[in-house]
Amino acid sequence: MTRHYPMGESVIRAVDGISLSVELGEFVALLGQSGSGKSTLLNLLAGLDRPTSGSVLVRGRDLSGMSSEELARYRRNDVGMVFQAFHLIPSMTITENVELPMRFAEVDRAERAQRSGESLQRVGLGNRLKHRPSQLSGGEQQRVSLARALTNRPSLLLADEPTGNLDSRTGEDILNLIRDISLSLGMTVVMVTHERALAERFAQRLIFLADGKLVSEEVRA
C-alpha cells in the first residue's frame, strides 16, 4: 500500500509500499521517527485517508473502494480513535463528549446514557460527569477520550501517540487500561508511538517504520 502527497513539484512518499497484516485481538505498536509515515498509516487504517495505490482490507472489506459515506459509517461503527492531544470538544461536558459518537450512530437517548455511563466506568471516571474537559488533568482527559472511543463498541482501537502529552506514570496507567480493555473486549489495538520502552512493555508486536517503509518487526511474547 502507498500514500503519496504532492508537495509543490515534488512528491512526498509518506507511506511507500508497506504490506502489513494485523490479527484480530492483537496489540500492535508502530514505531519510528517523526516523518516516518506511522501517523499516515494509522489514518489510512482509520479510513480518514485513502491510499494512492494498494488497498486496506478490514475483515474482508476494502476501505479504498468505499464512498466517503461508507467510510464515515466504518469510522463510526468499527473504529475508536485516541489522539495525543485528546481532541475533546471543550464546550461539552464529559458525558456529552462521550455520547457524541452515539449521536452520529443514531443510538436512542436512553441507551446513550447507559452506554456512556458504562464506558466512563470502564476507564475509571464514574464521577465528574458534568465537568468540562478543561477542568480535568491530562490523564483524566485521555481517559475520557478512551471512553469516547469505546462507546460505539468498535472492534479496532487506533491510538496516535496516546501517551505523548502525559507524564510517564500517567502514560503507563493509560496503556494498562488500553491493554486490559482490549483483552476483556477482544479488541484489536494499533498504537503509534516513539517510546520504544512503553511499546515493548504493552504491545504484542512492534513494527518499525522509516521513510514510509517497513524496516523491521519484533514479536513479543
Partner: protein
C-alpha cells in the same frame, strides 16, 4: 444524525458565541422587519382602498350612463363605437328594458337637485339627493344618528350633520323628529290648452308622457320630517348621490317630480319624456355583475362597476407591493451577507472540532447539515424577532398616522395591517434565505480534510 440531535447541537454551537450569532440574528430580524413592515404597509393601504370601495356598496352595482353625457377614457375603444351623438339616451324605455334583464334587482335613478330649506325665516341652500332603500343594508353610512327612512315614499329626510348645524348651531341633534320645509323646483306639465303648445313633427312621435309637449319648472314647498343625521357623505363620498346635504328616499324625489339638469334635453327631444343622467342597477349577486354589465353595454350605454375599479386598483397595488418588497428586501440581503460571514468564521474557528467529529464518525453530510441547521436556526429566530419588530414598527406607523389624521379632523384609519399569512411567509422566507446563505459555509465545512485539521500543532 437525527433531526432533533442536529438541532440540539446547532443551538448549542450558536450559544457558544452568543454575541456574534446574536448580532447576526438581530441583523436578520431587522431585514425581516423592514420587509414585513413594507409589505404590511402595502396590504394596509390596499385594504383601506378596498374598504372605501366596499363601503360605497358598489360590489353588486352597475352604473349606467349615456354615451351622450359621458365620454370614456379609452379613446381607442370609443372610436369603434358609433358617434356619441347617435348613442341612445337613458329614458323611461331604457329603464324598463334594463329592469327586465335577468338578475337585475332594482333600477334607481341618481337624482341630485338644488334645494333650499326654510327655517326660522332664513333659507339654507343645499343639494338634495335621493337614496335608495338599499342604502341602509349596504352600510352606506359610517354613523347614522336617528333612523333610516321608513319607506321609499315617506316624507322624511336625513341631513348631513354639517347642514344641521347651519339650521341649529347649538344643538343639531334636536332636529331629529322635527319638521322642516324644503323648497324645490317641480317639473310641471303645461296645461292641455296652453297657447305655446307646439305641434308634433310627425304622427309617429306619439306622446309618451303627460308633459311630452313641454313643461315648466315651478317653485314648490314640501314639509319633511327629519329622521336622522349623518356625519359624513354616504357611500364614502364616491357617488353622485353622495354629494348632497339633504337626503330623501329616491321614491319621494320621483313622486315630487323634482326638476333635474337633464330636463333641458327632454324638453328639446321630440319624444321620450324624462331622461336620466345615471341609473344605478343593483344585481342579485356580485358574481352576475359582469354579465349584467355586458348586457347593458350591448344596448349602447356606458357602464361602470367596481369590477373595473378593483381591476386597476389591483394592478396598481401589485406594482406598489413589488417596489415595497424590493426596498424591504435590501436589508435582508445585507443580513444574508452577515450570515455567510458569521458561518465562515465559525468554520475557521471550529476546524479542529469538525475534524474530531469526522474522526469519531460524522459523515460529510452530518457536518453539512449541522451548519445548515445553525443557519436555519438563526433564520428562524431572526424571522420571529423580525415579525415582532415589524409589528412594533407597524403600531408606530398607525399611531403616527392616527395623530396626523385626527389633527386634520379626519377619522383615524389603519394604514398598516399584517395579515396572518405574512407572518408565516416571512418566517419561512427568512429560514429559506438563511439556508441559502448557509450553502457555501456548510459545503466548506463538509469538505474539510480531517487529517489536516487533526495534525498536532
Amino acid at each position: 444524525m437525527t433531526g432533533y440531535d442536529l438541532l440540539e447541537l446547532a443551538v448549542r454551537n450558536l450559544r457558544q458565541s452568543k454575541l456574534r450569532n446574536g448580532l447576526t440574528t438581530i441583523g436578520i430580524s431587522v431585514g425581516v422587519a423592514s420587509l414585513v413592515a413594507m409589505l404590511s404597509l402595502g396590504v394596509g393601504l390596499q385594504q383601506m382602498a378596498t374598504r372605501r370601495l366596499a363601503g360605497s356598496g358598489l360590489f353588486d352595482t352597475v352604473f349606467v350612463t349615456s354615451r351622450q353625457d359621458f365620454r370614456g377614457f379609452d379613446r381607442e375603444d370609443d372610436a369603434k363605437m358609433p358617434h356619441p351623438e347617435q348613442a341612445p339616451v337613458l329614458d323611461e324605455s331604457a329603464r324598463d328594458k334594463i329592469t327586465k334583464l335577468p338578475n337585475v334587482m332594482e333600477v334607481e335613478p341618481e337624482i341630485r337637485v338644488m334645494g333650499e330649506v326654510i327655517s326660522g325665516g332664513e333659507t339654507h341652500f343645499g343639494f338634495v339627493t335621493g337614496l335608495p332603500m338599499s342604502a341602509r343594508v349596504n352600510e352606506a353610512f359610517d354613523n347614522l344618528k336617528g333612523k333610516f327612512f321608513s319607506s321609499n315614499n315617506a316624507d322624511e329626510t336625513i341631513l348631513l350633520t354639517d347642514f344641521a348645524k347651519e339650521l341649529d348651531a347649538k344643538n343639531p341633534t334636536a332636529l331629529i323628529g322635527q319638521e322642516i320645509t324644503l323648497r324645490y323646483g317641480e317639473r310641471q306639465a303645461l296645461p292641455q290648452e296652453s297657447s305655446g303648445r307646439p305641434e308634433l313633427a310627425s304622427s309617429e312621435n306619439e306622446a309618451k308622457s303627460s308633459d311630452d309637449y313641454g313643461f315648466s319648472v315651478v317653485r314648490k314647498l314640501q314639509r319633511l320630517r327629519v329622521v336622522g343625521l349623518i356625519d359624513s357623505e354616504p357611500y364614502g363620498g364616491m357617488r353622485t348621490v353622495s354629494r348632497g346635504r339633504i337626503f330623501l328616499p329616491v321614491g319621494t324625489t320621483e313622486r315630487l317630480n323634482m326638476a333635474q339638469f337633464t330636463d333641458m334635453r327632454s324638453s328639446l327631444r321630440g319624444a321620450g319624456g324624462k331622461s336620466y343622467m345615471t341609473l344605478t342597477v343593483r344585481v342579485k349577486d356580485p358574481g352576475k355583475v359582469a354579465a349584467v354589465q355586458d348586457a347593458i353595454s350591448q344596448m349602447g350605454f356606458r357602464t361602470f362597476s367596481v369590477l373595473d375599479a378593483t381591476k386597476s386598483l389591483r394592478r396598481f397595488f401589485t406594482v406598489l407591493d413589488l417596489f415595497l418588497g424590493i426596498f424591504g428586501s435590501l436589508a435582508l440581503a445585507v443580513a444574508t451577507l452577515a450570515i455567510i460571514n458569521t458561518l465562515v468564521m465559525a468554520v475557521l474557528e471550529r476546524r479542529r472540532e469538525i475534524g474530531v467529529m469526522k474522526a469519531i464518525g460524522a459523515s460529510d453530510q452530518d457536518v453539512r447539515r449541522l451548519f445548515f441547521a445553525e443557519a436555519g436556526a438563526m433564520g428562524f429566530l431572526g424571522g420571529v424577532l423580525g415579525i415582532l419588530l415589524g409589528l412594533a414598527i407597524g403600531k408606530g406607523i398607525n399611531f403616527g398616522t392616527a395623530i396626523y389624521l385626527t389633527r386634520r379632523q379626519l377619522p383615524a384609519e389603519a394604514v398598516w395591517s399584517m395579515p396572518p399569512w405574512l407572518v408565516g411567509a416571512a418566517i419561512i422566507f427568512s429560514v429559506v434565505v438563511s439556508l441559502v446563505a448557509g450553502l457555501y459555509p456548510a459545503s466548506r465545512a463538509a469538505r474539510l480534510d480531517p487529517v489536516q485539521t487533526l495534525k498536532y500543532e
